[in-house]
Protein backbone atom coordinates (compact mmCIF):
# COMPACT_ATOMS: atom_id res chain seq x y z
CA UNK A 1 0.00 0.00 0.00
CA UNK A 2 2.65 2.50 1.08
CA UNK A 3 4.86 1.53 -1.86
CA UNK A 4 2.09 1.56 -4.46
CA UNK A 5 1.06 5.18 -4.11
CA UNK A 6 4.47 6.81 -4.78
CA UNK A 7 4.99 4.56 -7.81
CA UNK A 8 1.62 5.54 -9.21
CA UNK A 9 2.32 9.18 -8.54
CA UNK A 10 5.77 9.04 -10.07
CA UNK A 11 4.33 7.60 -13.27
CA UNK A 12 1.65 10.30 -13.38
CA UNK A 13 4.20 13.07 -12.88
CA UNK A 14 6.44 11.61 -15.58
CA UNK A 15 3.49 11.52 -17.96
CA UNK A 16 2.56 15.09 -17.05
CA UNK A 17 6.15 16.23 -17.65
CA UNK A 18 6.24 14.68 -21.11
CA UNK A 19 2.83 16.07 -22.05
CA UNK A 20 4.05 19.57 -21.15
CA UNK A 21 7.36 19.09 -22.96
CA UNK A 22 5.57 17.91 -26.09
CA UNK A 23 3.06 20.77 -25.91
CA UNK A 24 5.98 23.19 -25.67
CA UNK A 25 7.68 21.73 -28.72
CA UNK A 26 4.48 21.20 -30.70
CA UNK A 27 4.67 24.54 -32.58
CA UNK A 28 8.13 23.60 -33.84
CA UNK A 29 7.00 20.12 -34.82
CA UNK A 30 4.06 21.68 -36.67
CA UNK A 31 6.48 23.99 -38.48
CA UNK A 32 8.47 20.98 -39.70
CA UNK A 33 5.37 19.02 -40.73
CA UNK A 34 3.86 21.99 -42.57
CA UNK A 35 7.07 22.59 -44.50
CA UNK A 36 6.84 19.07 -45.93
CA UNK A 37 3.25 19.35 -47.11
CA UNK A 38 2.34 20.39 -50.64
CA UNK A 39 0.50 23.74 -50.69
CA UNK A 40 -2.84 22.09 -51.54
CA UNK A 41 -2.77 19.89 -48.46
CA UNK A 42 -2.55 22.93 -46.18
CA UNK A 43 -6.14 23.79 -47.02
CA UNK A 44 -7.49 20.39 -46.02
CA UNK A 45 -10.30 20.68 -43.48
CA UNK A 46 -9.75 19.43 -40.86
CA UNK A 47 -5.94 19.77 -41.12
CA UNK A 48 -3.96 16.57 -41.62
CA UNK A 49 -1.42 15.80 -38.94
CA UNK A 50 1.26 13.92 -40.85
CA UNK A 51 1.74 14.96 -44.48
CA UNK A 52 -0.26 12.66 -46.76
CA UNK A 53 2.42 13.09 -49.37
CA UNK A 54 5.82 14.45 -48.49
CA UNK A 55 6.89 17.27 -50.76
CA UNK A 56 10.20 19.04 -50.90
CA UNK A 57 8.83 21.56 -53.38
CA UNK A 58 8.65 24.36 -50.77
CA UNK A 59 12.36 23.91 -50.05
CA UNK A 60 13.28 23.83 -53.74
CA UNK A 61 11.23 26.97 -54.48
CA UNK A 62 12.88 28.69 -51.54
CA UNK A 63 16.39 27.79 -52.62
CA UNK A 64 16.04 28.48 -56.34
CA UNK A 65 13.26 31.04 -56.84
CA UNK A 66 13.74 33.45 -53.95
CA UNK A 67 16.55 35.62 -52.47
CA UNK A 68 16.57 33.26 -49.47
CA UNK A 69 20.09 31.84 -50.17
CA UNK A 70 21.54 35.36 -50.22
CA UNK A 71 19.85 36.26 -46.92
CA UNK A 72 21.21 33.04 -45.48
CA UNK A 73 24.76 33.80 -46.62
CA UNK A 74 24.47 37.33 -45.22
CA UNK A 75 23.39 35.97 -41.85
CA UNK A 76 26.26 33.46 -41.79
CA UNK A 77 28.84 36.16 -42.54
CA UNK A 78 27.23 38.52 -40.04
CA UNK A 79 26.97 36.07 -37.16
CA UNK A 80 30.41 34.55 -37.72
CA UNK A 81 32.19 37.91 -37.92
CA UNK A 82 30.38 39.16 -34.82
CA UNK A 83 31.26 35.99 -32.91
CA UNK A 84 34.96 36.16 -33.80
CA UNK A 85 35.16 39.83 -32.83
CA UNK A 86 33.33 39.37 -29.54
CA UNK A 87 35.37 36.33 -28.50
CA UNK A 88 38.67 38.07 -29.32
CA UNK A 89 37.86 41.40 -27.69
CA UNK A 90 36.01 39.74 -24.81
CA UNK A 91 38.76 37.27 -23.95
CA UNK A 92 41.52 39.87 -23.60
CA UNK A 93 39.13 42.30 -21.90
CA UNK A 94 37.99 39.73 -19.35
CA UNK A 95 41.61 38.79 -18.66
CA UNK A 96 42.41 42.44 -18.07
CA UNK A 97 39.45 42.93 -15.72
CA UNK A 98 40.43 39.84 -13.76
CA UNK A 99 44.23 39.68 -13.45
CA UNK A 100 45.53 43.23 -13.83
CA UNK A 101 45.33 46.02 -11.33
CA UNK A 102 44.70 49.60 -12.37
CA UNK A 103 42.53 52.37 -11.10
CA UNK A 104 38.83 52.23 -11.96
CA UNK A 105 38.82 48.51 -12.76
CA UNK A 106 35.84 47.56 -10.61
CA UNK A 107 33.87 50.63 -11.66
CA UNK A 108 34.50 49.69 -15.28
CA UNK A 109 33.30 46.13 -14.68
CA UNK A 110 30.06 47.38 -13.12
CA UNK A 111 29.56 49.91 -15.91
CA UNK A 112 29.99 47.21 -18.54
CA UNK A 113 27.39 45.09 -16.79
CA UNK A 114 25.00 48.04 -16.72
CA UNK A 115 25.23 48.48 -20.49
CA UNK A 116 24.01 44.91 -20.86
CA UNK A 117 20.65 45.88 -19.40
CA UNK A 118 20.26 48.93 -21.61
CA UNK A 119 17.21 48.71 -23.89
CA UNK A 120 18.56 48.40 -27.42
CA UNK A 121 15.72 50.53 -28.78
CA UNK A 122 17.15 53.48 -26.83
CA UNK A 123 20.20 53.51 -29.11
CA UNK A 124 18.38 52.92 -32.36
CA UNK A 125 17.98 56.55 -33.42
CA UNK A 126 21.56 57.77 -32.84
CA UNK A 127 23.05 54.53 -34.20
CA UNK A 128 21.01 54.94 -37.37
CA UNK A 129 22.21 58.53 -37.71
CA UNK A 130 25.80 57.49 -37.04
CA UNK A 131 25.76 54.68 -39.60
CA UNK A 132 24.27 57.00 -42.22
CA UNK A 133 26.94 59.58 -41.44
CA UNK A 134 29.93 57.26 -41.72
CA UNK A 135 28.46 55.56 -44.77
CA UNK A 136 27.92 52.13 -43.24
CA UNK A 137 24.11 52.11 -43.42
CA UNK A 138 22.82 49.31 -45.64
CA UNK A 139 26.03 47.35 -45.15
CA UNK A 140 26.63 44.23 -43.11
CA UNK A 141 29.42 46.05 -41.28
CA UNK A 142 26.87 48.29 -39.52
CA UNK A 143 25.14 45.25 -38.05
CA UNK A 144 28.42 43.56 -37.12
CA UNK A 145 29.47 46.66 -35.17
CA UNK A 146 26.09 47.00 -33.46
CA UNK A 147 25.82 43.33 -32.46
CA UNK A 148 29.42 43.25 -31.26
CA UNK A 149 28.71 46.03 -28.81
CA UNK A 150 25.45 44.41 -27.64
CA UNK A 151 27.03 41.01 -27.05
CA UNK A 152 30.28 42.27 -25.56
CA UNK A 153 29.07 43.18 -22.03
CA UNK A 154 27.57 39.74 -21.35
CA UNK A 155 30.53 38.05 -23.04
CA UNK A 156 32.93 39.89 -20.76
CA UNK A 157 30.92 38.96 -17.71
CA UNK A 158 30.65 35.34 -18.78
CA UNK A 159 34.34 34.95 -19.69
CA UNK A 160 35.35 36.65 -16.48
CA UNK A 161 33.33 34.20 -14.41
CA UNK A 162 34.84 31.23 -16.27
CA UNK A 163 38.38 32.62 -16.04
CA UNK A 164 37.99 33.36 -12.34
CA UNK A 165 37.74 29.61 -11.79
CA UNK A 166 41.26 29.08 -13.22
CA UNK A 167 43.78 28.96 -10.34
CA UNK A 168 46.03 32.01 -10.32
CA UNK A 169 49.00 29.75 -9.49
CA UNK A 170 48.91 28.20 -12.96
CA UNK A 171 49.66 31.56 -14.55
CA UNK A 172 52.26 32.34 -11.86
CA UNK A 173 54.03 29.03 -12.49
CA UNK A 174 54.29 29.77 -16.20
CA UNK A 175 55.67 33.23 -15.43
CA UNK A 176 58.34 31.68 -13.19
CA UNK A 177 59.29 29.44 -16.09
CA UNK A 178 59.95 32.56 -18.12
CA UNK A 179 56.68 33.09 -20.00
CA UNK A 180 55.59 36.68 -20.62
CA UNK A 181 52.15 37.77 -19.42
CA UNK A 182 50.78 37.49 -22.93
CA UNK A 183 52.51 34.14 -23.40
CA UNK A 184 51.02 32.81 -20.17
CA UNK A 185 47.57 34.08 -21.23
CA UNK A 186 47.73 32.32 -24.61
CA UNK A 187 49.28 29.06 -23.36
CA UNK A 188 47.59 28.67 -19.97
CA UNK A 189 44.45 30.77 -19.60
CA UNK A 190 42.89 30.45 -23.06
CA UNK A 191 42.91 26.61 -23.21
CA UNK A 192 41.47 26.46 -19.69
CA UNK A 193 38.75 28.94 -20.58
CA UNK A 194 37.66 26.99 -23.65
CA UNK A 195 34.22 26.00 -22.27
CA UNK A 196 33.57 29.64 -21.45
CA UNK A 197 34.66 30.66 -24.92
CA UNK A 198 32.31 28.06 -26.40
CA UNK A 199 29.39 29.40 -24.38
CA UNK A 200 30.25 32.98 -25.33
CA UNK A 201 30.50 32.05 -29.01
CA UNK A 202 27.14 30.29 -28.95
CA UNK A 203 25.43 33.15 -27.14
CA UNK A 204 26.88 35.75 -29.51
CA UNK A 205 26.15 33.81 -32.67
CA UNK A 206 22.53 33.31 -31.66
CA UNK A 207 22.11 36.97 -30.72
CA UNK A 208 23.44 38.10 -34.10
CA UNK A 209 21.52 35.39 -35.97
CA UNK A 210 18.17 36.16 -34.33
CA UNK A 211 18.02 39.95 -34.01
CA UNK A 212 15.32 41.73 -35.94
CA UNK A 213 15.13 45.37 -34.80
CA UNK A 214 18.60 46.50 -35.87
CA UNK A 215 18.43 44.63 -39.14
CA UNK A 216 15.12 46.40 -39.77
CA UNK A 217 16.50 49.87 -39.15
CA UNK A 218 20.08 49.70 -40.39
CA UNK A 219 19.75 47.62 -43.56
CA UNK A 220 17.24 48.24 -46.29
CA UNK A 221 18.74 46.59 -49.35
CA UNK A 222 18.45 42.99 -50.44
CA UNK A 223 22.20 42.66 -50.93
CA UNK A 224 22.89 43.10 -47.22
CA UNK A 225 19.61 41.92 -45.69
CA UNK A 226 19.97 39.11 -43.14
CA UNK A 227 17.51 36.25 -42.72
CA UNK A 228 15.26 37.76 -40.07
CA UNK A 229 14.16 40.82 -42.02
CA UNK A 230 14.54 38.98 -45.32
CA UNK A 231 12.05 36.27 -44.43
CA UNK A 232 9.59 38.82 -43.04
CA UNK A 233 9.91 40.80 -46.28
CA UNK A 234 9.04 37.64 -48.20
CA UNK A 235 6.09 37.17 -45.86
CA UNK A 236 4.56 40.62 -46.25
CA UNK A 237 5.27 41.23 -49.91
CA UNK A 238 3.65 38.11 -51.29
CA UNK A 239 -0.01 38.42 -52.14
CA UNK A 240 -0.86 34.81 -51.39
CA UNK A 241 1.03 33.77 -48.31
CA UNK A 242 2.69 30.45 -49.05
CA UNK A 243 2.79 28.90 -45.63
CA UNK A 244 4.67 25.75 -46.67
CA UNK A 245 7.46 27.89 -48.01
CA UNK A 246 7.53 30.17 -44.96
CA UNK A 247 7.67 27.16 -42.67
CA UNK A 248 10.47 25.72 -44.82
CA UNK A 249 12.32 29.02 -44.43
CA UNK A 250 11.75 28.86 -40.68
CA UNK A 251 13.10 25.31 -40.54
CA UNK A 252 16.25 26.18 -42.53
CA UNK A 253 16.74 29.30 -40.47
CA UNK A 254 16.61 27.25 -37.26
CA UNK A 255 19.22 24.71 -38.32
CA UNK A 256 22.40 26.66 -37.42
CA UNK A 257 21.21 27.56 -33.89
CA UNK A 258 20.09 23.96 -33.34
CA UNK A 259 23.42 22.54 -34.52
CA UNK A 260 25.35 24.92 -32.27
CA UNK A 261 22.98 24.23 -29.41
CA UNK A 262 23.48 20.48 -29.71
CA UNK A 263 27.25 20.88 -29.53
CA UNK A 264 27.47 23.50 -26.81
CA UNK A 265 24.34 23.24 -24.71
CA UNK A 266 26.16 21.97 -21.63
CA UNK A 267 28.30 25.09 -21.58
CA UNK A 268 25.28 27.23 -22.34
CA UNK A 269 23.20 25.83 -19.51
CA UNK A 270 26.16 26.43 -17.24
CA UNK A 271 26.54 29.98 -18.48
CA UNK A 272 22.90 30.95 -18.06
CA UNK A 273 23.12 29.27 -14.69
CA UNK A 274 26.16 31.45 -14.10
CA UNK A 275 24.24 34.57 -15.03
CA UNK A 276 21.41 33.68 -12.71
CA UNK A 277 23.25 32.03 -9.87
CA UNK A 278 26.78 33.30 -9.70
CA UNK A 279 27.00 36.84 -10.96
Amino acid sequence: MSGARPAWRAAALTALTWVLVLLTTFPLLWMLLTSLKPQTELFALPPTFLPESISFAPYLRLLFDTPFPRYFANSIVLATATTLLVVAIGAIGAHSLLRFSYRGREALATLVLATYLLPSVVLIVPLYLMMVEIGLANRLASLIIAYTSFALPYALWLLRSFMAAIPEEMEAAARVDGASRIGAFVDIILPQALPGIGATALFTFILAWNDYLYALVLVNTDTARPLTTGVVTMFVTTFNVEWSMLMAASVLMSIPPIILFTFFHHQLSRSIGAAGVRS
Binding site: F100, Y102, P119, V122, V125, F261
Partner: protein, 304 residues
Protein backbone atom coordinates in the same frame (compact mmCIF):
# COMPACT_ATOMS: atom_id res chain seq x y z
CA UNK B 1 79.88 50.10 -11.26
CA UNK B 2 79.02 46.48 -10.65
CA UNK B 3 77.90 47.33 -7.13
CA UNK B 4 75.63 50.06 -8.46
CA UNK B 5 73.95 47.67 -10.84
CA UNK B 6 73.32 45.23 -8.02
CA UNK B 7 71.82 48.01 -5.95
CA UNK B 8 69.49 49.27 -8.68
CA UNK B 9 67.90 46.40 -10.63
CA UNK B 10 67.17 47.22 -14.25
CA UNK B 11 63.44 47.12 -13.63
CA UNK B 12 62.22 48.25 -10.23
CA UNK B 13 59.00 46.72 -8.80
CA UNK B 14 57.24 50.06 -9.36
CA UNK B 15 58.26 50.16 -13.00
CA UNK B 16 57.13 46.57 -13.42
CA UNK B 17 53.78 47.32 -11.82
CA UNK B 18 53.36 50.34 -14.05
CA UNK B 19 54.17 48.34 -17.15
CA UNK B 20 51.73 45.70 -15.96
CA UNK B 21 48.95 48.22 -15.48
CA UNK B 22 49.69 49.61 -18.92
CA UNK B 23 49.34 46.17 -20.49
CA UNK B 24 46.07 45.70 -18.58
CA UNK B 25 44.73 48.96 -19.97
CA UNK B 26 45.86 47.98 -23.44
CA UNK B 27 43.89 44.73 -23.22
CA UNK B 28 40.68 46.44 -22.10
CA UNK B 29 41.11 49.29 -24.62
CA UNK B 30 39.20 47.61 -27.50
CA UNK B 31 36.24 47.00 -25.19
CA UNK B 32 36.22 50.57 -23.95
CA UNK B 33 36.62 51.87 -27.49
CA UNK B 34 33.72 49.94 -28.99
CA UNK B 35 31.39 50.47 -26.03
CA UNK B 36 32.16 54.20 -26.10
CA UNK B 37 31.53 54.46 -29.84
CA UNK B 38 28.42 52.31 -30.04
CA UNK B 39 26.83 52.79 -26.61
CA UNK B 40 28.14 55.82 -24.70
CA UNK B 41 28.28 58.24 -27.63
CA UNK B 42 24.84 57.27 -28.99
CA UNK B 43 23.43 57.58 -25.48
CA UNK B 44 24.71 61.13 -25.25
CA UNK B 45 23.33 61.79 -28.73
CA UNK B 46 19.92 60.50 -27.62
CA UNK B 47 19.90 62.98 -24.75
CA UNK B 48 20.95 65.75 -27.17
CA UNK B 49 18.36 64.86 -29.78
CA UNK B 50 15.60 64.70 -27.19
CA UNK B 51 15.99 68.46 -26.78
CA UNK B 52 15.54 69.08 -30.50
CA UNK B 53 13.01 68.72 -33.26
CA UNK B 54 14.44 66.41 -35.91
CA UNK B 55 12.65 65.56 -39.13
CA UNK B 56 13.83 62.07 -40.13
CA UNK B 57 14.01 62.30 -43.96
CA UNK B 58 16.06 65.52 -44.04
CA UNK B 59 17.54 65.35 -40.53
CA UNK B 60 16.84 69.07 -40.22
CA UNK B 61 17.41 69.86 -36.54
CA UNK B 62 16.21 72.78 -34.43
CA UNK B 63 16.41 73.52 -30.71
CA UNK B 64 13.24 72.61 -28.87
CA UNK B 65 14.20 72.80 -25.21
CA UNK B 66 12.05 70.62 -23.01
CA UNK B 67 9.01 70.89 -25.27
CA UNK B 68 9.31 67.24 -26.39
CA UNK B 69 9.17 66.07 -22.79
CA UNK B 70 6.30 68.44 -22.02
CA UNK B 71 4.36 67.14 -25.01
CA UNK B 72 5.00 63.52 -24.02
CA UNK B 73 4.16 63.82 -20.34
CA UNK B 74 1.02 65.88 -20.93
CA UNK B 75 -0.22 63.78 -23.87
CA UNK B 76 -2.04 60.47 -23.63
CA UNK B 77 0.26 58.31 -25.77
CA UNK B 78 3.02 57.91 -23.21
CA UNK B 79 0.75 56.99 -20.31
CA UNK B 80 -1.26 54.60 -22.44
CA UNK B 81 1.90 52.96 -23.76
CA UNK B 82 3.33 52.76 -20.25
CA UNK B 83 0.17 51.06 -18.98
CA UNK B 84 0.27 48.67 -21.97
CA UNK B 85 3.94 47.93 -21.31
CA UNK B 86 3.21 47.16 -17.67
CA UNK B 87 0.30 44.85 -18.51
CA UNK B 88 2.46 42.98 -21.01
CA UNK B 89 5.50 42.82 -18.71
CA UNK B 90 3.67 41.72 -15.58
CA UNK B 91 1.43 39.28 -17.44
CA UNK B 92 4.14 37.52 -19.38
CA UNK B 93 6.63 37.60 -16.49
CA UNK B 94 4.15 35.96 -14.12
CA UNK B 95 3.47 33.18 -16.61
CA UNK B 96 7.17 32.69 -17.33
CA UNK B 97 7.98 32.33 -13.64
CA UNK B 98 5.04 30.07 -12.90
CA UNK B 99 5.55 27.77 -15.85
CA UNK B 100 9.34 27.97 -15.62
CA UNK B 101 9.52 26.94 -11.96
CA UNK B 102 6.92 24.18 -12.42
CA UNK B 103 8.78 22.82 -15.43
CA UNK B 104 12.14 22.97 -13.63
CA UNK B 105 10.72 21.06 -10.66
CA UNK B 106 9.26 18.41 -12.97
CA UNK B 107 12.49 18.13 -14.97
CA UNK B 108 14.55 17.83 -11.80
CA UNK B 109 12.90 14.49 -11.04
CA UNK B 110 14.18 11.20 -12.38
CA UNK B 111 12.09 10.75 -15.49
CA UNK B 112 12.63 8.73 -18.61
CA UNK B 113 14.86 10.45 -21.22
CA UNK B 114 15.41 13.39 -18.91
CA UNK B 115 18.30 14.85 -20.93
CA UNK B 116 16.18 14.88 -24.09
CA UNK B 117 13.22 16.50 -22.31
CA UNK B 118 15.52 19.18 -20.89
CA UNK B 119 16.92 19.99 -24.33
CA UNK B 120 13.55 20.06 -26.07
CA UNK B 121 12.10 22.49 -23.57
CA UNK B 122 14.85 25.02 -24.33
CA UNK B 123 14.12 25.25 -28.06
CA UNK B 124 11.68 28.16 -28.04
CA UNK B 125 14.30 30.30 -26.31
CA UNK B 126 17.02 29.77 -28.91
CA UNK B 127 15.04 30.08 -32.09
CA UNK B 128 14.63 33.47 -33.73
CA UNK B 129 11.63 35.55 -32.70
CA UNK B 130 10.84 35.84 -36.40
CA UNK B 131 10.51 32.05 -36.58
CA UNK B 132 8.39 31.93 -33.42
CA UNK B 133 6.03 34.59 -34.76
CA UNK B 134 5.65 33.01 -38.20
CA UNK B 135 4.91 29.62 -36.65
CA UNK B 136 2.34 31.03 -34.23
CA UNK B 137 0.65 33.08 -36.94
CA UNK B 138 0.24 29.85 -38.88
CA UNK B 139 -0.98 27.95 -35.81
CA UNK B 140 -3.54 30.70 -35.11
CA UNK B 141 -4.51 31.23 -38.76
CA UNK B 142 -8.20 32.08 -38.95
CA UNK B 143 -9.11 29.56 -41.65
CA UNK B 144 -6.59 26.77 -41.53
CA UNK B 145 -5.02 27.18 -38.09
CA UNK B 146 -4.61 23.99 -36.13
CA UNK B 147 -5.32 25.66 -32.77
CA UNK B 148 -8.88 26.64 -33.72
CA UNK B 149 -9.53 23.21 -35.18
CA UNK B 150 -8.20 21.47 -32.08
CA UNK B 151 -10.33 23.63 -29.78
CA UNK B 152 -13.43 23.08 -31.93
CA UNK B 153 -12.79 19.33 -31.96
CA UNK B 154 -12.53 19.40 -28.17
CA UNK B 155 -15.82 21.27 -28.01
CA UNK B 156 -14.30 24.29 -26.25
CA UNK B 157 -15.28 26.78 -28.95
CA UNK B 158 -17.82 26.76 -31.79
CA UNK B 159 -16.21 29.11 -34.30
CA UNK B 160 -12.61 30.17 -34.90
CA UNK B 161 -11.36 32.85 -32.53
CA UNK B 162 -9.85 36.12 -33.72
CA UNK B 163 -6.65 35.72 -31.68
CA UNK B 164 -4.79 38.86 -32.70
CA UNK B 165 -7.32 41.24 -34.23
CA UNK B 166 -9.46 42.17 -31.24
CA UNK B 167 -8.98 43.10 -27.61
CA UNK B 168 -8.43 41.65 -25.08
CA UNK B 169 -7.47 38.63 -27.24
CA UNK B 170 -4.47 40.33 -28.86
CA UNK B 171 -2.86 41.21 -25.54
CA UNK B 172 -3.60 37.79 -24.02
CA UNK B 173 -2.22 35.98 -27.08
CA UNK B 174 0.93 38.11 -27.07
CA UNK B 175 1.46 37.49 -23.35
CA UNK B 176 1.07 33.73 -23.75
CA UNK B 177 3.37 33.53 -26.78
CA UNK B 178 5.92 35.66 -24.92
CA UNK B 179 5.72 33.26 -21.99
CA UNK B 180 6.22 30.31 -24.34
CA UNK B 181 9.25 31.95 -25.95
CA UNK B 182 11.03 33.08 -22.79
CA UNK B 183 10.12 30.66 -19.97
CA UNK B 184 13.07 28.34 -20.80
CA UNK B 185 15.40 30.97 -19.36
CA UNK B 186 13.68 30.49 -15.99
CA UNK B 187 13.88 26.70 -16.38
CA UNK B 188 17.66 26.76 -16.99
CA UNK B 189 18.44 29.06 -14.07
CA UNK B 190 16.14 27.27 -11.61
CA UNK B 191 17.33 23.80 -12.68
CA UNK B 192 20.94 24.85 -12.16
CA UNK B 193 20.08 26.01 -8.64
CA UNK B 194 17.95 22.96 -7.79
CA UNK B 195 20.90 20.70 -8.46
CA UNK B 196 22.85 22.36 -5.66
CA UNK B 197 20.19 21.75 -2.98
CA UNK B 198 21.64 19.01 -0.72
CA UNK B 199 19.62 15.79 -1.06
CA UNK B 200 20.04 14.93 2.62
CA UNK B 201 17.76 17.84 3.56
CA UNK B 202 14.88 16.12 1.76
CA UNK B 203 15.76 12.77 3.37
CA UNK B 204 15.77 14.33 6.83
CA UNK B 205 12.44 16.08 6.20
CA UNK B 206 10.95 12.85 4.89
CA UNK B 207 12.06 11.02 8.06
CA UNK B 208 10.44 13.78 10.10
CA UNK B 209 7.22 13.03 8.26
CA UNK B 210 7.04 16.15 6.09
CA UNK B 211 4.74 15.77 3.06
CA UNK B 212 5.78 16.80 -0.43
CA UNK B 213 4.14 20.23 -0.15
CA UNK B 214 5.88 20.90 3.17
CA UNK B 215 9.20 19.80 1.69
CA UNK B 216 8.63 22.22 -1.20
CA UNK B 217 7.79 25.24 0.98
CA UNK B 218 10.36 24.50 3.72
CA UNK B 219 13.36 23.39 1.65
CA UNK B 220 12.98 24.09 -2.09
CA UNK B 221 11.49 27.58 -2.00
CA UNK B 222 14.00 29.09 0.47
CA UNK B 223 16.85 27.73 -1.66
CA UNK B 224 15.29 29.17 -4.82
CA UNK B 225 14.46 32.62 -3.49
CA UNK B 226 17.85 34.09 -4.42
CA UNK B 227 17.94 32.89 -8.00
CA UNK B 228 14.24 33.63 -8.50
CA UNK B 229 14.70 37.23 -7.44
CA UNK B 230 17.53 37.70 -9.91
CA UNK B 231 15.81 35.87 -12.76
CA UNK B 232 12.61 37.82 -12.20
CA UNK B 233 14.53 41.09 -12.29
CA UNK B 234 16.42 40.21 -15.48
CA UNK B 235 13.35 38.94 -17.26
CA UNK B 236 11.35 41.96 -16.13
CA UNK B 237 13.89 44.30 -17.73
CA UNK B 238 14.10 42.21 -20.89
CA UNK B 239 10.31 41.90 -21.21
CA UNK B 240 9.91 45.61 -20.58
CA UNK B 241 12.20 46.43 -23.52
CA UNK B 242 10.96 43.65 -25.86
CA UNK B 243 10.44 44.88 -29.40
CA UNK B 244 10.75 42.06 -31.93
CA UNK B 245 8.02 39.77 -30.62
CA UNK B 246 5.28 42.38 -30.20
CA UNK B 247 6.12 44.31 -33.34
CA UNK B 248 6.08 41.19 -35.50
CA UNK B 249 3.03 39.65 -33.86
CA UNK B 250 0.61 42.57 -33.68
CA UNK B 251 2.53 45.63 -34.88
CA UNK B 252 1.04 47.33 -31.82
CA UNK B 253 -2.52 46.68 -32.90
CA UNK B 254 -5.44 46.44 -32.92
CA UNK B 255 -5.24 50.26 -33.02
CA UNK B 256 -2.64 50.92 -30.33
CA UNK B 257 -3.77 48.36 -27.77
CA UNK B 258 -0.50 46.41 -27.73
CA UNK B 259 1.80 49.30 -28.57
CA UNK B 260 4.40 49.17 -25.82
CA UNK B 261 7.07 51.86 -25.24
CA UNK B 262 9.75 50.33 -27.50
CA UNK B 263 7.23 50.27 -30.35
CA UNK B 264 6.37 53.89 -29.68
CA UNK B 265 10.05 54.86 -29.95
CA UNK B 266 10.31 53.06 -33.29
CA UNK B 267 7.04 54.51 -34.57
CA UNK B 268 8.01 58.06 -33.63
CA UNK B 269 11.42 57.79 -35.30
CA UNK B 270 10.61 55.89 -38.49
CA UNK B 271 6.82 56.05 -38.85
CA UNK B 272 6.11 59.64 -37.82
CA UNK B 273 9.60 60.94 -38.69
CA UNK B 274 9.96 62.64 -35.32
CA UNK B 275 13.44 61.69 -34.18
CA UNK B 276 13.53 64.26 -31.39
CA UNK B 277 10.31 62.89 -29.90
CA UNK B 278 11.59 59.34 -30.33
CA UNK B 279 14.76 60.28 -28.46
CA UNK B 280 12.75 61.85 -25.63
CA UNK B 281 10.63 58.69 -25.34
CA UNK B 282 13.85 56.67 -25.31
CA UNK B 283 15.31 58.78 -22.51
CA UNK B 284 12.18 58.31 -20.39
CA UNK B 285 12.23 54.60 -21.10
CA UNK B 286 15.85 54.38 -20.09
CA UNK B 287 15.17 56.12 -16.81
CA UNK B 288 12.47 53.54 -16.06
CA UNK B 289 14.85 50.67 -16.89
CA UNK B 290 17.56 52.31 -14.80
CA UNK B 291 15.22 52.36 -11.82
CA UNK B 292 14.72 48.62 -12.27
CA UNK B 293 18.46 48.00 -12.77
CA UNK B 294 19.68 49.60 -9.54
CA UNK B 295 18.72 46.70 -7.25
CA UNK B 296 20.36 44.28 -9.70
CA UNK B 297 23.64 46.16 -9.74
CA UNK B 298 23.59 46.56 -5.96
CA UNK B 299 23.17 42.84 -5.70
CA UNK B 300 25.88 41.98 -8.24
CA UNK B 301 28.25 44.24 -6.32
CA UNK B 302 27.29 42.64 -3.02
CA UNK B 303 28.05 39.17 -4.29
CA UNK B 304 31.51 39.87 -5.63
Amino acid sequence: MAALLRLRPATSPQALARRDALLGLLLIAPTVLILSAVIAYPLATTAYLSLHNVYTPTLATEWAGLSNYRAILSGGTFWHALATTLVWTIGTLALQLLFGVAMALLLNRNIRLRALARSLVLFPYFLATVVAVLVWRWLLNGLFGVVDHALIALGLIDTPVDWLGTMPNAMATTIVIGAWKFFPFVVIAVLARLQTVPAHLYEAARLDGAGSWARFTDITLPHLSGVLGLVALLRMIWDFREFDLIYLLTGGGPLDHTRTLPLVVYQQAFGLNQMGMAAAYAVLMMLLVLAMTIPYLARARGRR
